[in-house]
Amino acid sequence: MDLIPRMPLNHWTDIGINYLQLRFGNSFDSLSDFLENMIISLQDYLLLMPPALLITLFALLSWKFANKKVALFSIIGMYLIYNVGLWDATMQTLAMVIGSVALCIIIGLPLGILSAKREAAHRIISPILDFMQTLPAFVYLLPAVTFFGLGVVPAVIATLIFAMPPVIRLTDLGIRQVPEELVELGKSFGSTFYQMLFKIELPLARPTIMAGINQCIMLSLSMVVISAMIGAKGLGGEVWRSIQRMEIGTGFEAGLAIVVIAIILDRITQSFGKSNE
């Protein structure tokens, strides 16, 4: 067993991370600024809106896309959040989730399409996704901090790593599941690559892709708590502080707020995949 001396995998990794930081530090900084501005301005917009307006908006969205019960739930749940004084923290969390999910879709959807269309891309992307999904979150939280410092940006990066895989995988799957006859239909009428994609493949893959986005939102929300450890504020920050101070009651309140947001977002996005079948 001891034929090969211990491989310094840990040192190699450290050296690699150091090199990346020295070589690309500036570009990480500008990326960091961009992400921070995005999340902060999103957060500001959400906080600018009067709580009553936002609650109404969510209720209407729930009503339109889900049903009356969900609409009622979102009114009661969000009022409860406001009532216990977690509104600002919730908006911070919401801003982070919306920003992360938007980035996941912007990056993940094209990658999923590429993976479905090109077997070579699939063979490269698939093991990377395995890696992203199984690597414990704590392991990449640390390098995220070394690259991007403490705060909201490393949290968004960690969330991307954690929540993007289902978007890519389910986009890939959705396109691969398009019935062969419908692909033949597209080809036999002389569709171009993009006509195939936008008129046949993506519309038919939509329920599957929406399931991926739904997963992405749920994973982002669960990452919010973990990323509080590296200085992201919001509901995760509340939970984290109450854990440190052993304040079980406040911790429960913040946890409940996360569940409320999760349920509302889940019900709304689930219905996107179902409508118009």
């Binding site: 006859e181 239909l185 036999s188 009428f189 002389g190 038919l204 118009n276």
Partner: protein, 396 residues
Amino acid sequence: MAKIEVKNLSMIYGGVPEKALEMIDKGLNNDQIRKQTKQVVGIKKVSFSVDEGEIFVIMGLSGSGKSTLLRCLNGLNKASAGSIIIDGKDISRVNPQELRTIRREKMAMVFQRFALLPHRSVKDNVAYGLEIQGIVREERYDKVMNVLTMVGLEAWADYYPVNLSGGMQQRVGIARALATEPDILLMDEPFGALDPLIRQDMQDELIEIQKKLHKTIIFITHDLDEALKIGDRIALMKDGEIVQMGHAEDILFSPINEYVARFVENVDRSRALTASSVMVKPRSVVYPKDGPRVALHVMERFGMSGLFVTDRNGVLIGYVLAEDAGRISDTGERQLDSIIIKEVPSVAPDTSLADILEVIAHTQIPVAVVDEQNSLKGVLVRGSVIAGLAGQRKEA
């Protein structure tokens, strides 16, 4: 000139085809090729040509290569060897842009399981081919409504495929294929997934549409009755090769080998055969000017109890019975006019035997076969009809 000409077409599934093609040339069979190269022979050395306006039926059991062959014609399958010449151009050697243009303008496909897009209304499904050609909305929908009217679904334009029955869905599929006004229709077992009764309606409808539009149609089926009903010519495939090709009667009456013979054994001949294939030449006729004595003389000579009467151009006038001729010849009448039976049962040459049987059952006198000008082409006598049903070639 032939619209489609396929020459020595072969198609090998999986990998580089050269070695398998060489083995085909050496005369090895598909199993041997599969064992040595791990490749599957889709079709091998198929040649045929289809004329403009013809319905060419490719028939065979599943796995015989008929769908593979059809998909080579529009490039969904890439031919490994041989050529496919459509309007003088070899489409197996065009670049992707040219292939796309050919697919858009020259040909359209109808699918076995309809292949309708569930997220589009009937109208937008039919518009698909026009839409990807970039035709503007108003013009698109004008054309769509025209073809929808042709298949009788104009009232269903705004419904979704899920609301439609199988037969209606396939009408949408046919309308979609017609919408781009292609010369060639490729139909891959289009009625295979439909109930038998609906299938017959659809066959009739296709024949009606074809009478109006005169498309060149390649029609795939595994149902011999369907092939015989629809096809102008039929090619029977087995193991990727065409075993026999010809008109319906060639295949029914002169099967080239045991396999074809078994294939046609159970066919419903009453639907496959037409009046023209079982009628006999009218051995003799009389003209109205001929007197009853002439008529009696002719009947006596051929041992018949009646005769058809035609004018000098062969147009059918009626029928006279021996007993009537005998009666008036005694009275000295010189002309046949008074005894001609004008209401003679008659059928068109392409009437199926099944329909003829019904006519024959209800009449005592022979059935006349007449063309559109009402000129007498032949006579159906019971003996020849029964012989046709039994699978024997009539004595010409």
